[in-house]
Amino acid sequence: MRLASAFCAFALLCSACGDSQTEQSTGVRRVLYWEKWTDFEGEAMGRVVDGFNAKEREHAKADPGYRPIEVEMVIVSSIEQKLLIASAGGNPPDVAGIYSYMTAGYADKGALTDLTGLAKTSGIERSQYVGRYYDLSMHRSKLWGLPTTPASVGLHWNKRLFREAGLDPEKPPQTLEELDQMAEKLTRWEVTLSSGETQVQTGYLPDVPSSRKRLLQAGFLPTEPTWWTYGWGFAFGGKLLDGDKVTALSPENLAAYEWVASYSKNLGVDSVQRFRSGFGSFASAQNPFLSGRLAMEIQGVWMYNFITKFADGMPWGAAPFPAPAAHPERRGVANAEVDSLVIPTGSKHAKEAWEFIRYTQKQEVMEQLCLGQRKHTPLAQVSEEFYAKHPNPYIRLFRELGASPNAWSAAKTGVWNEYAREMSTAADKVANLNLTPTEALTQVQNRMQLSYDRDRAIFLRRQR
């Protein structure tokens, strides 16, 4: 056993030494970068890395004394879990591309390098960004990362289905009430008549029993996609966290969940469940929006890519999500998050890692990246060329939505994942009419306030 242990230790030592020996002999400073995106998005980041490495080599050619930095990008799936394990093991990458909602939890637990000082000395400041995207990397008044590609969410609608329902295909709903009315007009059923024949009918058809009607097309479903059901309260003026207080049970969130339930009451729980069970996975032609079974849904800036891939030729539009008629100022309530480049604590090449991050923040580099990933840029300055070249016809809209004061993001707490799961489950229970909004949100409120307080206590203990 001792022999085996010695062998393992020797092998580890050799592998550890190998890297630094190569570095010393070639004079190259290697930076390991973990990126979560694959496919064209990963390739776009790969081109940025190539550009940085080429620039470094040029520098070394001009100045033979200069040791160039070489970034090695590794595509890593499930970045949340793998970064956690690597950080705990004391062997994290030098740079990691994370989701902004991970920042608070990781920063509170000391897993990220504070970049506030570095940003200041490099002349990087908030005014150079769309404020929200910069702020998503801020936590407890410190900067933990810098944004790369953002994503915001808007209402998407299928113009063909609008036309078929007698609606103006160029006019998306302007108020929440109008959305509800349009949703009814866009609802289509296959009804079995007493003669046994079937007939297509529109509207909610409350008098036809569910056994005799089959939902063919829905106008809108608050539970589709299931990704942001926890955030409907924002459209009603609510929020999820107020200082250190969990506000799941606020009147605004209750109103939002009542609205979620109203769709199940109008369409029938059984009909909605059957309808939804026929949906394929998001990235497939069986996606309800792409297959023309759902006329309107909230989706992100990425939806353009999937429409092109799975439903090319489908006439569609994107617009700000409507607000209740009494509160027009809330128009454009949208989830907005951003990818963020961070330096995990324990990075062996933090200085070089920062050089790479700084490079990605240059306007031309950022635009190259965001164009490649078909998203908008988080920088305040945008060239007209960027918009001209961008394939998504609604790219300006998504940028406006992300910059809007009505945009909302994940709450900055280490218990965000749990909170989002709890709120989604509550929405599920309310949509199935198994619990009232008050019952469902009381469960969330009680559980999450405890979780939040526990997480905060851990943070305070660490501070001591």
């Binding site: 056993m1 085996a4 879990q81 059957r274 309808f275 069970s277 394929g280 280490g414 599920d428």
Partner: protein, 296 residues
């Protein structure tokens, strides 16, 4: 111990060493480390802080702990019962002398070779409440099938039915057991006038009871560790949709440990699961003394 014996022991241990190292490094150490962490507030990223039995106290008051335990017990019980009956029935059928036996054996074994992810995606499509093959077939016999995976009452049974599809492995083990039953016992029972059912209950089942016991124990252990089916079939967000009806124990453990960074609490969950499986296996062993026949 003489010198020769010591030498033999040394050589024996040397040959066992790879397994012993593996067992110690990958089983015993994690087990003991998890036991220690279960007594700590441990977020993985920060050093563990000893909190005594706090995690266990909280666990037994946690609504989701009980919910996930119920979901998992339901699944384990259902999948073991259905899987065993299904595998045994198939094995008995495939043990008879019919034409094309090899083809049937291969055909029934094949599904168990399909990777879990691919199989889950296939069943996901088959379970569609509108136009899915299962509901279409049910309609032919005038049954209005449910919405399966989007109906909180049917999502768990749906996953149980899916696991029965992969009964091929157990079926092969049963088949081997069946072929091991001495023909003389069947001949003797036929002479005594036993019919097909009597032969099954008085000869076949007692003779293959050790195989049944093995399959049940393995099935229970596997059932309590179910994870991937729920994650794939009811959304990758880990909520165990619909309405946490498929929030299996290991899925909740994963959520708590890797999503919420509460590894101490997750370790406590893991240890409780370990005790449960140990208890059930022990109970099965005790019960087996009554109904498992090892004597020939």
């Amino acid at each position: 111990m003489r010198a020769l014996e010591r030498r033999k022991l040394g050589i024996g241990l040397l040959f066992c060493a790879p397994w012993l190292v593996g067992l110690s490094v990958f089983m015993i150490y994690p087990l003991l480390a998890a036991l220690y962490y279960s007594l700590c507030d441990y977020s993985v990223l920060l050093p563990p802080v000893f909190v005594g039995l706090d995690n266990y106290v909280e666990l037994f008051q946690d609504r989701l702990f009980w919910k996930s335990l119920w979901n998992t017990s339901f699944f384990a019980l259902g999948s073991v019962a259905l899987g065993t009956v299904m595998a045994l029935t198939l094995a008995i059928l495939l043990n008879s002398k019919v034409k094309g036996l090899t083809f049937y054996r291969t055909a029934f074994f094949l599904p168990s070779l399909m990777p879990l992810v691919a199989g889950s995606i296939l069943w996901f499509t088959m379970y569609s409440g509108q136009g899915g093959i299962i509901n279409t077939l049910l309609k032919k016999i005038y049954i209005d099938g449910p919405a399966w995976l989007t109906d909180p009452n049917w999502a768990k049974p749906a996953i149980i039915f899916m696991t029965a599809w992969g009964a091929g492995n157990a079926m092969v083990i049963f088949l081997a057991g069946l072929q091991d039953v001495p023909m003389s016992l069947y001949e003797a029972s036929i002479i005594d006038g036993a019919n097909w059912l009597q032969r099954l209950t008085n000869v076949t089942i007692p003779m293959i009871s050790p195989v049944i016991y093995f399959n049940v124990v393995m099935g229970v252990i596997g059932g309590f560790q179910a994870f991937a089916q729920a994650l794939i079939m009811t959304g990758s967000t880990g909520v165990g949709a619909p309405e946490q009806s498929t929030l299996f124990y290991v899925l909740q453990l994963y959520n708590v440990g890797f999503m919420d960074l509460r590894m101490g609490y997750a370790s406590a969950m893991a240890w409780v699961l370990f005790i449960i499986i140990l208890g059930l296996t022990f109970a099965a062993t005790q019960l087996s003394k009554r109904w498992v026949t090892y004597d020939r």
